[in-house]
Symmetry: C2
Subunit: 428 residues, 2 copies
């Protein structure tokens, strides 16, 4: 389907926060034009035909947000066990429940998360969860762009399954891919980590993991190996082909050097880090060191929502508190993390900005809600005042999956809610 967006403000993210008035064309899955407004006659003369013309009425088009760390299927456990610290929450509440979930459960619960992503303008997710085949299928059926990451740990799966998934879940569908990863240093033994590093080398693959999320995690790793998680994993060659860390709240000077040396990404998860009292990531320092920063919501059981607007405000707000400096980590940096930074981390080079030839992963922001008025600085306002309520439309690979509160993912919200309630009844 070819779609023309006219009468728009456009924030391409190609040159920072510059916004211009004009139009944008989508043909198939790609953007074929962004620029000044065109006369209808010139468009007709050029032989261009659109299936639909959307008058944006001065609203804003921008690249969709990239949610660079999540566990979508955990929608089931949203507010199931709040108010616990990370390790107790995982071990006493989450792991026992997850042991009972089927791949079909995972697929349905992922679709529930997808509804929420779309309401928040999220057009791609980096998802680490159980049943990767089922998750890939759920995303492909829904039209969601997904980069899955293995969460292997000492409880499973086997290294053979790990390698098989890496081979099988890449190249099967344009919307879905699979990257190497493991749950965390503290849930893997040394032998497993060494074998994972060998696989990273075999395929020259970047590697991702939960990293230095809590003080306890760092302290225990130092006790075990005499090194921080980052330095220890690097000593095994784990990041020789890049990759990144989720959370990264508690970083040493040496840790920053490791990230720089291997061009790794730091994925910050401020919602989860506040709710679980894990700490505040040193985002300002990451930027100063030139390290790519992306933003993730983490899973809906530790956050508890999947909302990039909340995360963006928290990234800048917590940085300001941490640094005791109201100028720390401004809105322009945060917007870049939520779009281009996420694409960089996730290997989605074609989905980062609005430009000819790029994938049409686009959102429309309603500037006619009171929180966007009067219009002083739109880009700042997205970060400091934006909300899910401002998302009028979410498009992934040229398909409109969400528009004016209505979803188009091949299954109704009501059906998803009904099935989620049935899973809840069966498992709790």
């Amino acid at each position: 389907m070819n779609i023309r967006f006219k009468n728009a403000r456009i924030l391409t993210m190609v040159d920072g926060q510059d916004i211009f008035e004009g139009e944008l064309w989508v043909e198939g899955t790609r953007i074929t034009y962004t620029g000044d407004a065109m006369y209808e006659q010139d468009i007709a003369n050029a032989g261009k035909k659109f299936d639909r013309t959307i008058d944006c009425g001065g609203n804003l088009l921008m690249p969709g947000f990239k949610n660079a760390h999540t566990h979508s299927g955990m929608t089931l456990m949203r507010t199931y066990a709040d108010g616990l610290p990370l390790h107790e929450w995982l071990e006493t509440k989450i792991f026992p429940l997850e042991a009972k979930m089927t791949p079909e459960d995972c697929a349905l619960l992922t679709k529930l998360a997808i509804l929420e992503y779309l309401t928040s303008g999220i057009t791609a997710i980096m998802d680490m969860y159980l049943a990767p085949e089922a998750i890939a299928k759920a995303c492909e059926e829904s039209g969601m762009r997904v980069v899955q990451v293995s969460g292997i740990n000492k409880f499973g799966p086997s290294l053979e399954v790990f390698e098989e998934r890496f081979l099988k879940l890449n190249g099967r569908h344009p919307l879905s891919s699979y990257m190497m990863g493991f749950h965390a240093e503290y849930t893997c033994d040394r032998e497993l980590l060494e074998k994972l590093s060998a696989l990273a080398h075999k395929y020259k693959a970047p590697m991702f993991t939960h990293n230095s999320e809590t003080e306890r995690e760092v302290a225990e790793c130092k006790e075990r190996y005499g090194m921080t998680p980052t330095v220890f994993l690097d000593s095994l060659g784990m990041f020789d082909y890049g990759g990144g860390g989720y959370h990264c709240c508690h970083m040493s000077d040496e840790d920053f050097e490791v990230f720089k040396k291997h061009n790794m990404s730091a994925v910050t998860n401020p919602g989860s880090n506040t709710k679980l009292a894990s700490g505040i990531a040193p985002v300002k320092r990451f930027l100063e060191e030139g390290i790519n920063v992306a933003i993730g919501t983490d899973g809906p059981s530790s956050n508890n929502c999947l909302d990039m607007f909340r995360e963006m405000f928290l990234v800048t707000g917590l940085a300001k508190l941490k640094e005791k400096d109201a100028t720390a980590v401004g809105a322009a940096d945060v917007l870049k993390m939520a779009t281009v930074g996420g694409s960089n981390a996730m290997g989605l080079d074609d989905c980062d900005v609005l430009a000819e030839g790029k994938e049409a992963d686009i959102i429309m922001i309603d500037l006619k809600q009171p929180n966007m008025q009067p219009i002083n600085n739109i880009a700042d306002n997205l970060v400091y005042s934006g909300s899910k309520q401002n998302v009028k439309l979410t498009m992934i690979a040229g398909a409109i999956l969400y528009e004016d509160g209505k979803f188009n993912i091949g299954i109704t919200p009501e059906e998803i809610y009904r099935e989620a309630a049935a899973i809840q009844k069966r498992l709790f």
Copy 2:
């Protein structure tokens, strides 16, 4: 107009987080029934007639949020000057602009804020800003409940005007009242403060002020008077009839004692305190000391949005970070602050909970948005996952001012945006 809400979940806030299924009646401005579902025939037999019956479809009714500290008219300066510390921001950017604003400007800009309050389920505001007569009129015309607080300081107005407003702006309209207050210790000289205290005694009136917002403010007060702002103001008898402090980030043991002695309220403003890097209020300690805590957004130029959901998540999240304890200040406490705690601070004893005889300040929360599914713990979910997108309806004193994205405040959003843009053009 008499309205029957049927088929609802109801969170009355009378007994903490208990939620039951039933119905609620509004007759005139008051709630006349909350309880089990009634048969239509029994209602007819009892001679009850409703102008409208709203089928809530299982959605949640709860008391509207009380925004216990704001400067509504500052909508004009939203993202006008981000990234500055408090004092520089006030002195170089805000004060010069405010000097040029007319009462008519204030009224219009207050209406812009009211639109946003309604989208966030806020049914009452404690507003400190210029041109109180114009603000009262704007709120009364719109149907917004407002408790104004004087922001007198050494630049004005005169004490005569202060007293005249206190007398004139109370009792003029059921939706609007006026309380004594002043901007802050650091913008008033000692003589003015002594005279304000005398007026508090003359009228046995509670007194409100910005209090211990920044470390600098506390340090400078100690230099001037050898005491913290709270202790110094108390030494003048300022709080002998109660009142409260806005922000209260930097509190000493003695400060807590002053708040307890005078039954004062602490109004926390976490959005503003993060954005301006002012600090994290000791909310857990306030609760432990039995001090009433309310929540405010602060003004839209320092936050930059007027969203109680953002504030609620920040209250609990920042408390957890500050205490390094994921169990600190749970959702139940936060919901109480955002409703009953606000009413207590603002002297709105009839607007705190959903019960017979109380004012009908009610919101309906859409539980059929993906961020509320599956339903595990609704009350927790409001705080940890709720957003403006979940507000389906906002009612104040029995009048529906916002429903399914449409406003009913006597002026259209488009007209407000147009006039706000004209003010912007004239003043910037």
